[in-house]
Structure formats: structure tokens, C-alpha cells
Symmetry: D2
Subunit: 357 residues, 4 copies
């Protein structure tokens, strides 16, 4: 089978490099083009990516020349790991030219015609891309923020079975979530930081869109109706975000039923067909000391969220702890899974840049 | 002025050593007796205390011989930094013999006749010690758990002005809170731990007793009526617990009024007379990046709790972040402040061991 | 091909667990028996091994019952990851009963009839096991200390081509080298420790035995004649020891010749036949910022030592930096490689416990 | 007594802030002017210095406006904590205008007419400033690199009593030595770095100048004649450099004599008159586990170097470990001590900027 050419935007960043690594032996996709920042165009991937870039990839890849992200791309399918600060206009231009852009950036996540997809939860939201025809010839698909990914996956079965009324979440987020260079060692050795720009806002609004309902008639998503209040922190952990979550439910439920819902969650059957989908998106552990970022982040190649310490909450209804590998399930793997979903649902065959014959 | 002799139980532990250091130049108290564990009796303080023991104290103190904690004590006033696992029966025996024991241990904190004191908040709760006469000739006074101290100080002005209805708190607790040896480096480098035995339970019940009302007639404390739900974590920080707190209030309030209440809080006037009392128990900071454990834990000698990021909570009413030095304000300094309060209110003059003439 | 049964002593420790993981899919060997400490006998491997034990191994293995290490073993071949404090007498008893014991412990390394083997360097030293017939019916083979492994591999080509006259080595050793629990986080966060019991002594004497000459006539090893002076340190790194090495050579040499010797070193051809042998035991890197423990420890599955910063030494002749994965090439992988060497040279077919028919 | 006005160049950096703090209550000097980088001119000290700037200093100081370092200065005495990359031309211009500049920068340390001073060792080297008259109307005095400071203080008594023939030194250097921002947490958590630009070169040449002899006749310093070979590393420690040192001596000596020399070293009597001079520049400890950066860096306000583990070296003659607080004794405190020395020896009364009446 011929593999489909893929271009990667933001390939030299922390998420981009992880994406390159995940694509190294991908059965469907083949990395044909790479770009970092506009300034890095013309350098090699190894030069632009720094010391970790060649870890787990072919040396040939290291010698590839980085494109200008704002130039022409041959690949119809583009995966974007661009920082949100610059992603917006670049991605718009590329979607405007007919590309299918699967993006990890936050710039367009909340646009009403842009789906915010977690394949196990809301693959049907792809339907709202019909409305993108009004402004673009291509298609833009996004995945959530890394912490939101962990939260939304944990909430999905609770929302489905009991209804979610309100959520309190405190995050302990890893260094790699800050990209390169991230906090200096002087700032965070023997310390934690109580603020991450924009993060609490994303946690407060993205889960409701993901858990919302696609209204076929209107071709729109009705966001779920609950509030999320977040406290976010950066901690000296290399990878893996931990979330301490308390949830108020619409319908009262025993802890065993809640554990059953979390444990039994598999999500849309569709994802069984996706090569990067884990056996189960959630894994429940019963050891009081778990989950821990270092011990649980790599479960199932980093694509499974680990949940533990499910217990009654004295203020809301239930509380628990979740760990997610922020770079894999929370970013690079999330975008890749969305690209796979887009492929099986026919988006990659709809063409590519408009200027192709 | 002659200084009062003080004996220290659990002097070789993390909290005990800090107590010894805080007492080094105390205007009222003089360390005359020291004990570690029963096994360390007969060794010197320097031998029992390990590498940090002599930091900031006289070398003479390092050569003192450790007593058997279960033996006879000459000092009427005993400060106990014993681990909760062993504190209970030892302290009971000493109070039974007529000593005034000011304890950091959790064993008796919730006893209805034992006051759980924070001098700025509830000095009047000392009144319940009258009821100890039924079982002991001496007196036992306790201070709260280190995280509870930070929480209770932050809640006190809110409770007083607006009423507290419910509290969600997530803690990021430092290594020194685990005593010696605490978690191994292998466990916690590049990691955080999602569980600390007994800690969530203490956060769930101690604040209500502290913020409760002393009923003069009954000579008892009516606990305040609100629920606290806690998620606790150990993080690789040497000292300083960070608390992410959300509070539901009885009475709605603007953020500026809430900030005013926190900022204006001084607590009972009584504490102006106590040498270890900080200028203010709470300090409000407005820098978005603060408070941080490493930058804020030492404020006012470690006796002031720093509060920041006061903002509306989407689920309860208000949320904020607090940092407390767990060993100082949260433990050794808390016990010392209680001893000072006991002294100015006359407890130290009531005698000492019964076997004295 | 039928795989050979292997028993593992000290299986629940840091090195033992790594050994179990390395053996998970081994082409020649099959883990048939496991023992931790005598106290852990009867518990399962998962219970004895703690939270990391099941990482990368079959769940079936986690349910295996731990043997008493001092009891009977069915497997002729035993791999010992016992701590040196207890390894001596247990290993002697088992070799006395006819087992082939391949040990990572230091107890017998310097015995004149016990070979201290690195397959790429001195496979011929196996010849001295003939002299073990005088005291044992079985055979004991050892591998060096984890830091010595890195040093000896780096010195081997220099010794062969130029002669080594003297060595200064400073180590920055990782936490996992200290076993479980190892240093507490309170000791080593924001700190390094300047002493590791017994380590400088091992660095001072093991390399000379490894680089010594096997005298066929006498059946003995003549140790190489040079001094090693070591300064050792524990640093807050999870895995990977870094060595800063200065060497005085018998014969003057340009840096390019020295780099050539290091780069070209492959060692005894024999090891091409061993499944755990890396493509090359040494890898030379020319980036000034390398090698680094985190970036280089896992090279070639952790079996290759990375060398960099080769430059003239102002006091001796040449200096360089080396990084070795202490648990893999420096311990578990070293023992396994020796077991493979013993197998291809016929040691495993010589029988097993004497009480077998 | 009227305090002397002092201006601080590079005041907002890691070393500069420490200098400001050390000067907070100085008996002789008063901070009258502050400058950071040219870009920060016009901002306040608190704005330019970041979150730590106000730690331990008056809030009034935080509101001071930063000068342009290249503009006019009123204070005759200037302390420079400028980064070496920019210090050279700025300092030259100011010395050219008649200022006494006491600098921590490396730019001019090796100039034959610029003294490289450690008051306890070579105060007489100030004599070479006579030769600065040929090019400047002011005077430039420098202190050594932070690691060199620790090394030179340890070598001084050995050099005096036994003669130093050769030195091997390996450093484990703290994060604060890298200034702001320094290495990112992603680089150095779970890692050490084997290279620091320019550091091995400084260690190879500065000690010989410091330990050299001032030839009164020629008005020049004859550098001591020995080689220093260095391996330098960055480790995840906040403050405090550890040095593992091996020394070859001219004259053989027992360990007890060497310990006696180190222990008895007080240095030039002159320094008793300097307020920042420690009781002793070296302290010898005999605990095998010491010195450690975290436990020993703050000895005597950070001005004393701690030495331990003195033992025979198998390759050179003696080896030992030293810990120095890199920001205090190794930088800010070193410059301040030199300023005090310059004051008592009359340099501050020789005038100031030429344009003063």
C-alpha cells in the first residue's frame, strides 16, 4: 500500500519532534515535508531540532532541509504542531489553499465551524466541517489542549452515564508542556509555579465543546452545559500532566458504578480501525499511590490516560486523579489520531492544495 | 528576666530540629532538656539529629545528651514534635504527670477537651482545657496539621466576613513535610506522588474545629459547619506547601471585598504580644506568578502565609493560591506560638510535674 | 530451539528487575526461577518488586512465587543480582553445589580464580575458572562494578595501542546505582553527595584485573600495571553514570590517533555471536555538549558507552568524558552478556546442581 | 562615619543582585547608583531584576531607577557584575575616566597590569596597578572566576608549605553560576551537562597568576609554575560549586601535615580588617559525607570554603573535595572583599571620575 505524504508544520518544536517520531514507521502516512519556524527554513531538521531531534528517527530524516512554513506544500495532508502564537494565520492560508490541516494549535479550536475532536468521544463532530466550505476550500480539524484531553477523556463516560454538572480541576503539569526552552532550572528546581498563561481558560471552555452534541440538522455542535473551574501549576516533572478532578453529577451514583463507567469506557467503535488508538483510552488503577506521572505516562505508548483514587468528594460528588502523557496523548498523538480518523472518513482523498492539477 | 525552661520531645526529627533552631535566641524560653526517640536516649543531639542538626545552633547544644522521652522531665513546659504514631501515649502520660504539653502531633487534636489553636484565630478555645481537669492534672494544647494551618489562616477572614459554605483544596506539599527520611529520590525525581496517608482526612476535619465557636457556658467548641474536600500531593520541593483553594461563601462578595478581607486580616490582638507572631499572618500578593514555594515560604521568618491569584471560581465562589512554610508556620513555629500564647495567658505558671514540691 | 532455564537471585532489586526485563524475550534463556531476599520468599514477584516490577514484563511473571535464595534451585545457570553484602556466602554455596553462577556482586571479583569478565575485552580470562575446580564443582563468573565497566571499556583500546600508565577519574553517578531505596529526596534535591562507600576502592583495583593478561601456563591473570585514582559523587540523575577521565599513556599519541583508537574499538570478535552485545561497545561523539546521561545512556539499548570531549590533558596526556547506563551495560546487561559468553563457550552444558542425575 | 558612595554595574543579574543584598547594611559602602544592561536603563531595579530582586533589600531600593551603564557615574567606586561578554569596553571607559572599578568580569583578569586579587592570598599584587597609569587615570581590580576562587584558596596553603607541581580538578557547578536564565529545566532535570564555555580555560590559567609572586622591582607578577587540568560540569544544584581536586606537591607530605596546612590557613593579616572577610577562608571537615553544596555553601555567610575528604591520591599526591558558594565567595562577596581591601589600602581616596572638581 502506498503511504500518504504528510507535511509537518512546527516540526522542530517539542510536539513536532514527537510527531516526527510517532510517524517514523506509520503504516499509512509518510513524512515528506518538514518545516520549523520561518527563520529555520533552509537548515536541516537536525540543526533546527537540537539535541533530541534524532532520537528514535532515521539519520536520513535529520538531513532533510526544513521548508518555509509559509511557502508551498506538496502534501495534501498537513499536521500542525505550530505554537498557537503563530499558527492562526499560517494555518488559515493553507486551509484556504485546499489543504487538510490537522492542528494541535489552539487558535481555531473554538471556531463554530472547526471540529475539536477526540476520536473516541466525538468523531461525528467532523460533520461541522461542511460549514468550512463557506470560507475555505480545505479543511481544518483540531485536537484539544493537553490537559483538556486528559480531563475530557475522563469526563466522557461520566457525562454519558450520569451527566456532568460541574468540574473542579487542579493540574500539576510537566516541563515538556511548556515547549522549548520552557522554564529555566533556576525557576523551578525546588519549586512549583502557580500560573500558565491561557491554560485555565482552555480548561474552562474546551471540554464542553468536545462533550457537546452534533445537531445534524443545523450542522452545528451544542456545547455541553457545565462549568469547569481550573487551578493550573507547572511542576519539575519531565513529561506527564497529573489532574486532580472533582465532579458534580446530574444523577447520583455509587463509587462502584462510577469506576465501572470509567473502566468500561471504550469510546466510538470507529477508533478500533485507527493504528494509533490505544486498546482503551482510559485505564483504572486501584493502587492508592497511583497514578504517578513517571510510572503511568507511558502506558500503551503514551496514548492511554490512567485514572486512580476514585472516591467520594465531600463538596461535589466524586473525585479522582488522572495522568496523561502531555506530548503523546495530549498533543502529537492526538493530532495523529485525528489525522487517522480524517483518513478513514475520507478527508484525505478530497484533494489537496488547489494549485495541483 | 529569667527564661523559662523548656523540654523538647522529638527534638531530632525534622520539626524538632526546627523548633530547637527557633528557640536558639528566644526571649522567654530556654531549651533545657531534649529527647528524640527512646532508642536515641544517651546519644548526643548532634549524633541523633544527623547532618543538619547543628545548622544555626550553638555547638554546645550539639553535645547535649538526649533524654529518654518516657523518663522524668524537669521542665514544666514541654514542646512535642513527636511523630503522631508514637505521640499519643507519651504525651498523655506527661500531661497526666502535670506538664503543660504543647504538641504538634495529630493524636489528640480532635479530642473535645483539647484545644486546636491558631493564636490569631481562636485563642479563646484555650477555655476548653478546663475540661481536661477531669482526666489530667496537666494541660495539652495542640496546633493543626501543616496544610490545615495554611488553609485555616486563609479561610478565617472569609469565614468571619462572608461565611464559608464549602471548600475544595488541592495541595502540592514539600519533601520536608514527610519527615526523615521521607520519599526516596528515586521515587520523586521527575515525578509527583498523589497520596499522603491521613492528610486528606485532616484537611477535612481540622479547619471546622479551628473556626468553630467556643461556647462559654458549655465550655465546649461548636465546630463550624462546612465541608472540605482535599486532593493532596507530594512534589519535589524542599520546603513550602502550596494550596490551590476554591471556596463557596454564605454571602456573595466582589473580589475586591474578598481581597480586602484577606489583606486586612490581623487576627486576635493578643498575638501582638507574642515574640514569634508575624506582623500579619497573611500577605496578599498581586503578581500573577506568585505565590511560589521557593520565593514565598520564608516571608517574615516563615511565619506568614502568602496568598495570591484571588479570582472568581466558576464552580464555587472564589479561588486563590496560598503558600505556607510547612516546618515553620505549619509546625515548629505553630507550636512555639502556642507555647507563647499559653505563657501570656498564665498556663506556664500553674506548676509542672506533680512530683515537684 | 529449547531455551535454557535460568534462575535469578536478587530479582526484586533494581538490578534484578532490570535483568528480568532484559530476559523477557531472550533467544537463549528463559527465566524459570526467581528469588529476592530470604524474607521475601513466598511472596509474588510483583509484591516483592514494588511499583516498577511489572514494567515491560508479562503479568504472568508478576504472579510467580519468589523462592528462598538459600534453597534448592533447578536451573543450572543462575544470574545473581544480589547486593554484595549478602552475595558472598550464598553464591559460594550454590557454586559449591555445581551451579554456574554469573554474578554482578563484588564479593568474589578479586579472587584469583574468579574471572572478572567484559566479553569484548578479556573473554580469555574465563580460563582461570579451571582453578575453581580446587574448591568448587560449579563455576563463578563476575562482571565489574558499574563505573569500572565504563572506565575499562574506554581504557581498553588505549591500553592496547598506547599503554596506560595512570588514570584519574571523577564520577557523577546516578540514583539507580544506589539501589532501593537509595538516597532520600531530602538529601539530594538541590545537592550532590561526595562519597559512595567502597566505590573508589573498586575503581582503584578492578580495571587492572580486567585489562590484565591471562598467562596460559600458570592459568592465572597478571594484572595490568597502572594506578587509578577516583573521586566519586552521587548526583540527582535517575540513570546513567558520567565519568570524567584523564589518562597518562606509555606512548605519546596525537588526539586524532586516540580518537581513532576509541572509535575503532570493537573488541573480541567473539561477542558478535552474543545476542546482547551492542554493535560497538564504544561510540565517539564530537558535539562539545555530549555525552549527557539523559541523552546518551540508552544508546544501543543501554549497552554502548558514549565517549566525547576527547582533548589533551595538561597534567596527564589525554582527557575525555564517558557516559554508561549503570543498570544495563554497568550491571544487568553486563551479567547477561557474561552468561551468553559462558553459554557459547560451553559452560552451560557442563551440568548443573550436583544433585541432578 | 560617612559611608562611601558605590555604583553597581550589572546590578540586575544574578551576581549583581547578590552584591546589592550584601551591601544592604554595609558599614563602609552605600549603594548610590545602579545599572543593569543598557536596555534596562530607566526601568526600576525591581522591574529589571525580576522576582528575586527585592529579597532581603529595602523596598526603597526596588524603586530606584536604573542608569545607563555607559552614561556618567557620580560614585568614584564602581563594582562591576557585568557579564564578561560586555564588561570589557564598558569597564575600560570607566577606568579611563578615573573610576576605581572592582570587577567580577573575566575580560581583564589576565592583563599584566591588572591585579587578580584574593585578599587572603595576594593583597600585595595591588602593586601592579602602578602600571595602569600608562593607560588609565583610574584603577581596575579583578577577582577570579567562581571555581578558581575555591581552587586557589585550597591551593594557597599547600603551595606555600609544600609547593604545587600539578593539579587535576573536576567541578560540579551549580545553576546560579550560569546567570539568568541559565539552563532550562528540560535540559538539566534528570541530567548533568559536561561542558561550560570558557570555564576549563579559566581554571587552567587564573590560579597561577593568583599564587604568583609580586616582583617589587619590576612591578610585575611572576605566575606560579604548575599546570591545572580541569573537567567542568553543570549539575542541578541551585547554589554551590563542588570541586574534586588532586594535587602533585613539590615536597612529599603526610596527610596530617596537609590537613594541618589547610586547617591553619588564615591568609594575610590584612583581611582581619575587612568587614566581609570570614573568620577563616577555609574550614576543614572530617565527616566522610561532607562537604556537600547544600549543607556547606552558606558557611560563614557563604564566604568560607569547606574542604573535606583529604586523602592520598594514587596518581598525584593528595586529593580532597571543596565546596564554595559560587555567588558569594565566588563572585559578589569576592568583589566586595576586594573593594574593602582597596578601601583600606587607600585606593578609594584617590579621587573618582576625572570630571569631578
Amino acid at each position: 500500500m502506498d503511504r500518504i505524504d504528510v507535511g509537518i508544520l512546527g516540526a522542530t518544536g517539542t510536539v513536532g519532534q514527537r510527531l516526527v517520531r510517532l510517524l517514523a514507521d506509520h503504516p499509512w502516512f509518510h513524512v515528506s515535508e518538514l518545516a520549523g519556524s520561518p527563520e529555520s527554513a533552509g537548515r536541516t531538521y537536525a540543526e533546527g531540532g537540537g539535541p533530541d531531534a534524532l532520537d528514535g528517527v532515521d539519520e536520513e530524516l535529520g538531513r532533510r532541509t526544513l521548508k518555509d512554513p509559509e511557502g508551498e506544500w506538496q502534501s495534501g495532508l498537513l499536521l500542525s504542531a505550530l505554537p498557537s502564537g503563530v499558527a492562526g494565520p499560517i494555518e488559515e492560508r493553507l486551509v484556504g489553499r485546499g489543504h487538510l490541516v490537522v492542528s494541535n494549535a489552539s487558535s481555531h479550536r473554538m471556531d463554530p465551524d472547526v471540529p475539536l475532536i477526540i476520536p473516541e468521544i466525538n468523531p461525528d463532530h467532523l460533520g461541522i466541517t461542511e460549514r468550512q466550505r463557506e470560507r475555505w476550500s480545505g479543511t481544518l480539524i483540531t485536537n484539544p489542549n493537553c490537559s483538556v484531553m486528559g480531563l475530557a477523556l475522563a469526563l466522557a463516560p461520566l457525562h454519558r452515564q450520569f451527566g456532568v454538572k460541574a468540574v473542579q480541576v487542579t493540574t500539576l503539569q510537566s516541563l515538556s508542556g511548556a515547549g522549548r526552552p520552557g522554564p529555566s532550572a533556576s525557576e523551578i528546581v525546588d519549586n512549583v509555579l502557580p500560573h500558565i498563561t491561557g491554560e485555565e481558560e482552555k480548561l474552562a471552555r474546551e471540554p464542553q465543546k468536545i462533550l457537546g452534541r452534533f445537531e445534524t440538522g443545523r450542522g452545528a455542535v451544542d456545547a455541553a452545559n457545565f462549568e469547569v473551574s481550573a487551578h493550573v501549576h507547572r511542576v519539575p516533572v519531565r513529561h506527564g500532566h497529573l489532574l486532580a478532578v472533582s465532579v458534580a453529577l446530574e444523577e447520583a451514583a455509587e463509587m462502584t458504578r462510577i469506576e465501572g463507567a470509567l473502566e468500561g469506557f471504550t469510546g466510538a467503535r470507529l477508533d478500533e480501525a485507527l493504528p494509533s488508538a490505544p486498546a482503551r483510552p482510559l485505564r483504572l488503577v486501584r493502587d492508592l499511590q497511583r497514578p504517578q506521572p513517571r510510572l503511568d505516562r507511558d502506558r500503551d505508548g503514551g496514548m492511554t490516560v490512567t485514572i486512580g483514587r476514585v472516591r467520594p468528594c465531600q463538596v461535589l460528588d466524586v473525585k479522582f486523579t488522572a495522568v496523561i502523557h502531555n506530548l503523546i496523548r495530549g498533543a502529537a498523538g492526538a493530532a495523529l489520531l485525528n489525522a487517522e480518523l480524517a483518513h478513514v472518513t475520507g478527508f484525505t482523498s478530497r484533494g489537496g492544495p488547489d494549485d495541483r492539477p
